[in-house]
């Protein structure tokens, strides 16, 4: 089994590009690869030949090419590393998205397996842990803004699920009669599973029907199904309002 880092940095980048193009467009053409990497067709061909020799790509000078099973596996590894490093930089550390993208491109090749697994563990801890009453990440962002650092007051509780950075707007903010598309579910594991089971999942269109006379819960409609849910549950559903 080939590990990340066994190839040269640039060949790994090529592999990743091919993989991404295949996922996005269904096929990777030499011209697209050249565009994506910002290099000439000729250098792409050079690289492809070397990847072919390594048994990672099936390239016989055709217009489109295939990754071999091993190539695909390696590419997936590189790609998921890339996404992880990017996420770590931008979501956890708060690095600007463009900078994070650039840094992820170079960092992804040089991280040892050991460091990576610790980073993954740390990310999980940071995203789900608590610093006193506050989530660690919220506390960190606040301290970044104010320049003030505060240690945890309480033993961190373990929470199920992995809350992401919230952006909003949320289903609970929708006015009756308005429609929206569900973007993301932030709820805890059990509630999220229940929401998904009832058909409240990303990509689905919902309409806010009404708010109960006492102000809670709310009634929403998805497809032909009327559902009631508490505002606290609706507040965990990130939506994109539709006109």
């Amino acid at each position: 089994m080939r590990q990340v880092g066994a190839l040269s940095e640039s060949l790994e980048d090529y592999l990743e590009t091919i993989y991404n193009l295949q996922v996005e467009n269904g096929a990777a053409k030499v011209s697209d690869i050249a565009d994506a990497r910002g290099v000439s067709m000729a250098s792409v061909c050079q690289a492809l030949k070397r990847l072919d020799r390594e048994g990672l790509v099936d390239y016989s000078a055709r217009e489109s090419l295939e990754l071999t099973p091993e190539g695909r596996r390696l590419a997936q590894k590189i790609s998921s590393r890339h996404r992880f490093v990017f996420r770590f930089l931008s979501h956890i550390l708060g690095v600007d998205k463009d900078v994070a993208e650039k840094d992820a491109c170079s960092l992804e090749h040089h991280l040892s397996k050991e460091t990576l697994s610790h980073l993954v563990a740390f990310t999980q801890f940071a995203e789900s842990g608590f610093c006193g009453e506050e989530k660690i990440m919220d506390s960190y962002r606040r301290s970044e803004r104010t320049g003030q650092v505060r240690g945890p007051r309480r033993r961190p509780r373990r929470r199920q699920g992995r809350p992401r950075h919230r952006e909003g707007p949320f289903l609970s903010e929708l006015k009756p009669g308005r429609r929206a598309r569900i973007m993301h579910l932030h709820a805890s594991c059990a509630i999220r599973q229940r929401l998904v089971d009832m058909g409240l999942l990303p990509g689905v269109e919902v309409e806010m029907i009404r708010v109960a006379p006492l102000g809670d819960p709310v009634e929403v409609k998805i497809r032909d199904l009327s559902l009631s849910l508490r505002k606290s549950e609706a507040a965990a559903i990130e939506v994109e309002p539709l006109p």
């Binding site: 997936q76 229940r194 089971d197 006492l214 508490r230």
Partner: protein
């Protein structure tokens, strides 16, 4: 003859139970409320050479293990697998129904889909192409109309041919990435030998981190194999969650939704529904759930429920009471006085009467509840009240049972069946007795009449309020202690309004009443006899009043004349002398009988405990009697005070109490009655509904303890100020 075991699965409100009824011709309830089938019900029918045994699973939206109903359905499917599963699908909401089909397909059992409500789908123009859908999903599909019985024979024939062919549904693909992670785990599981689950299903559930499947595998598999697969699954899960950037269970659920809605879209030619019924439902809800009218209409509905259950039910209950009174009188006139007569009259007939006297209330209450459920209003009731109930740590659906509790705790406990979540249901049941039932009213009236004749209404109001506050506190307390855990989600379907069928209503009411008579009735009867034994035995060797008559201290008064000595005087001192009338002699005997009985001795025994709470052994004995039924407290106490027959009634008991006790004792009694152990009928019903003596007895002991503490605290504190 060969038997085929068939399980009926499906979402709530898809007419699953009516299909079940048509299949088995048994009477069973058609619910229109999420989770109405709490226990599984079975039935059977013959088809050709086969005997088909059906079990009706609880209605579920999914087979993930997040609610009681789902767990139950899943356990039956996994650990007691049927030969064929029939999935009843609502043809008007195909995409969301097929989500469950996909999960059933994973179980790799013979599967037949009954496309129910096909008439409604036809009308709405959403009827899918059956052949195409069957092709896409790879399962046999039969259109049915449950309430008319259309398609039932075809369904039976499909079940048989599915059984004969032995085909299992095709494999579900979760996309290349996840499939690749499933494959190696699944092949290890397949080699490990016979499991409860199909290996691929088990592998998928391990990836999803399903606790129940995981722990079953841990028990079933050799330790090293389990360690290997669980390590693999954990690693793969981590990798995949990184890849998808989301919880894997959710990703896989999305994939199942994708398969379901893809198939539905492909098979439905005209996907734009001509909406009919749904819009009518919306119009109705615009009134019933509106800001202005929603709550008043709900209040009216509640008032009607009360009125029907208790006011309309009252004459029937009184009639039954009267009939049993007559029966008792008849037996009394036939049998000579003695233990046998007492056993029959005070034990058996009173016990059976005590069971039957609730039947009119229960039947009427469940008629109203069935109407609310079958029309779809019950879900709206929960929608309207959830905010208020959620505040006090309960669920919107707890409101109606709590309200019924003011009438009678027994039907109220049974009404908690509408709650889906077990924890919500248990908390509601445990605090329900604090909703002061109507049987306690005579006691409050006695106390208020004796000590606060000018403030009866106010004192009653305070007692009821204390009960409510204690219930709220106790519910909160349970929520943070024994019933800790995440609030159950309130995500609930508001089903379209439907007109209930007479047959459905009738069978539901009948089922409940039968249930009550069979299960609770036997326990209530047994306890009534036990209580009778406790207050009749042991019999005193001789009665003091007879001794005094024999020794000449007392002489019988002339018939029709009052004597100079009353039974109550005897108790204070045996030094009295004079004449005594014959009802007073009987009363004196009865009083001594109870005092020397087990109940009376227990009363004496616990008197040191009761004293600090301002109570004495007589009240203790009467409280033991009140375990049978709260209203017995008054009659028990009047016997103890030798009030005897009805000639002097509560009027004089009131005076005796005023003379003997302080107002603080009166309040202490009221608190004790309010909080103490519920009557045995409630005990029996709680045992039945929770399925365990632990909860029933825990409630019994816990509430009695609380009652004691509250009375004690009140009495002691009041003494400080008095």
């Amino acid at each position: 003859m060969k038997r085929i075991r068939v399980a009926l699965a499906g979402n709530p409100n898809v007419g699953k139970t009516s299909v079940f009824n048509q299949l088995t011709r048994s009477s069973q309830h058609v619910g229109n409320y999420p989770g109405v089938t709490v226990e599984t019900i079975s039935g059977s029918c013959r088809y050709g050479d086969y005997e088909l045994d059906f079990v009706d699973l609880p209605g579920t939206y999914s087979l993930t293990a997040h609610s009681e109903d789902e767990m139950e359905a899943r356990r039956i499917l996994l650990y007691n697998p049927p030969d064929v599963v029939v999935h009843v699908v609502d043809a008007t909401g195909l995409a969301r129904n097929l989500y469950l089909t996909v999960q059933l397909m994973e179980l790799r059992m013979g599967l037949v889909v009954a496309l129910n409500m096909s008439d409604e789908a036809e009308e709405k123009g959403t009827m899918p192409d059956i052949d195409l859908l069957s092709e896409v999903m790879g399962v046999d599909i039969v259109p049915t109309i449950g309430h008319r019985g259309t398609g039932i024979d075809e369904l039976k024939s499909s079940i048989v041919s599915c059984y004969e062919s032995g085909d299992s549904p095709r494999r579900i693909s979760y996309g290349r990435d996840i499939d690749r992670s499933i494959a190696p785990i699944s092949s290890i599981l397949a080699e490990a030998g016979d499991l409860f689950f199909p290996p691929r299903y088990a592998a998928a559930k391990l990836l999803e981190n399903d606790e129940e499947v995981r722990s079953t595998l841990e028990e079933e598999l050799p330790r090293n194999v389990f360690a290997e697969v669980s390590r693999m699954a954990d690693g793969e899960r981590e990798r995949l969650e990184d890849l998808f950037g989301d919880d894997l269970a959710v990703v896989m659920a999305e994939q199942r939704h994708g398969i379901a809605s893809g198939a539905a879209e492909e098979a439905t030619m005209d996907s734009r529904a001509r909406s009919t019924g749904a819009d009518l439902t919306r119009e109705i809800d615009n009134v019933l759930l509106s800001r202005v009218l929603g709550l008043p209409i709900f209040g009216l509905a509640i008032y009607l429920t009360f009125w029907l259950t208790f006011t309309v039910g009252a004459p029937f209950s009184s009639l039954l009471e009267y009939l049993f009174g007559q029966l008792g009188g008849l037996v009394e006139s036939l049998i000579a006085p003695g233990l046998l007569r007492s056993l029959l009259v005070d034990g058996v007939i009173a016990g059976v009467g005590g069971v039957l006297v609730f039947v009119p209330n229960i039947a009427l209450l469940f008629l109203v509840i069935s109407v609310m459920e079958d029309t779809g209003y019950m879900a709206r009731a929960a929608f309207l009240m959830d905010r208020f109930m959620h505040r006090i740590g309960l669920h919107g659906q707890s409101f109606i049972p709590m309200l019924i509790g003011f009438g009678c705790t027994v039907p109220a406990i049974m009404a908690t069946r509408v709650l889906n979540d077990r924890r919500d249901r248990l908390v509601t049941m445990m605090v329900l007795p604090l909703m002061s039932c109507s049987a306690r009213l005579p006691i409050y009236l006695l106390v208020a009449g004796a000590f606060f004749p000018d403030h009866r209404a106010l004192s009653l109001l305070i007692i009821y309020l204390v009960g409510i506050l204690l219930a709220v506190g106790l519910a909160k307390l349970m929520r943070v202690s024994v019933m800790k855990g995440e609030n159950s989600p309130f995500v609930m379907e508001l089903p379209p309004y439907r007109i209930p069928t007479f047959r459905g209503l009738f069978s539901h009411v009948w089922l409940r009443v039968r249930h009550y008579l069979r299960k609770a009735g036997t326990v209530i009867l047994a306890f009534s006899v036990l209580l009778w034994l406790a207050s009749s035995f042991p019999v005193p060797d001789s009665y003091a009043v007879d001794e005094m008559l024999r020794s000449g201290r007392l002489a019988p008064a002339r018939p029709g004349e009052a004597g100079t000595v009353e039974a109550l005087d005897l108790e204070r001192s045996t030094e009295v002398s004079g004449t005594i009338s014959s009802p007073e002699i009987t009363a004196a005997r009865k009083a001594q009988g109870i005092e020397t009985s087990l109940a009376g001795r227990t009363g004496h025994l616990i008197e040191p405990l009761l004293k600090p709470a301002g109570l004495d052994w007589r009240i203790g004995t009467a409280l033991i009697g009140a375990l049978g039924a709260k209203e017995l407290f008054v009659s028990q106490l009047s016997i103890l005070y030798s009030m005897g027959g009805s000639e002097r009634g509560t009027e004089s008991l009131r005076e005796v109490m005023r003379r003997r006790y302080s107002p603080y004792t009166g309040i202490s009694i009221a608190f004790f009655i309010l909080i103490m152990a519920p009557c045995i009928a409630t005990l029996a019903v709680v045992r039945k509904e929770t399925g365990s003596w632990a909860w029933a007895l825990g409630q019994f002991v816990g509430l009695t303890l609380l009652a004691y503490l509250v009375s004690l605290a009140f009495y002691q504190i009041s003494r400080l100020f008095a």
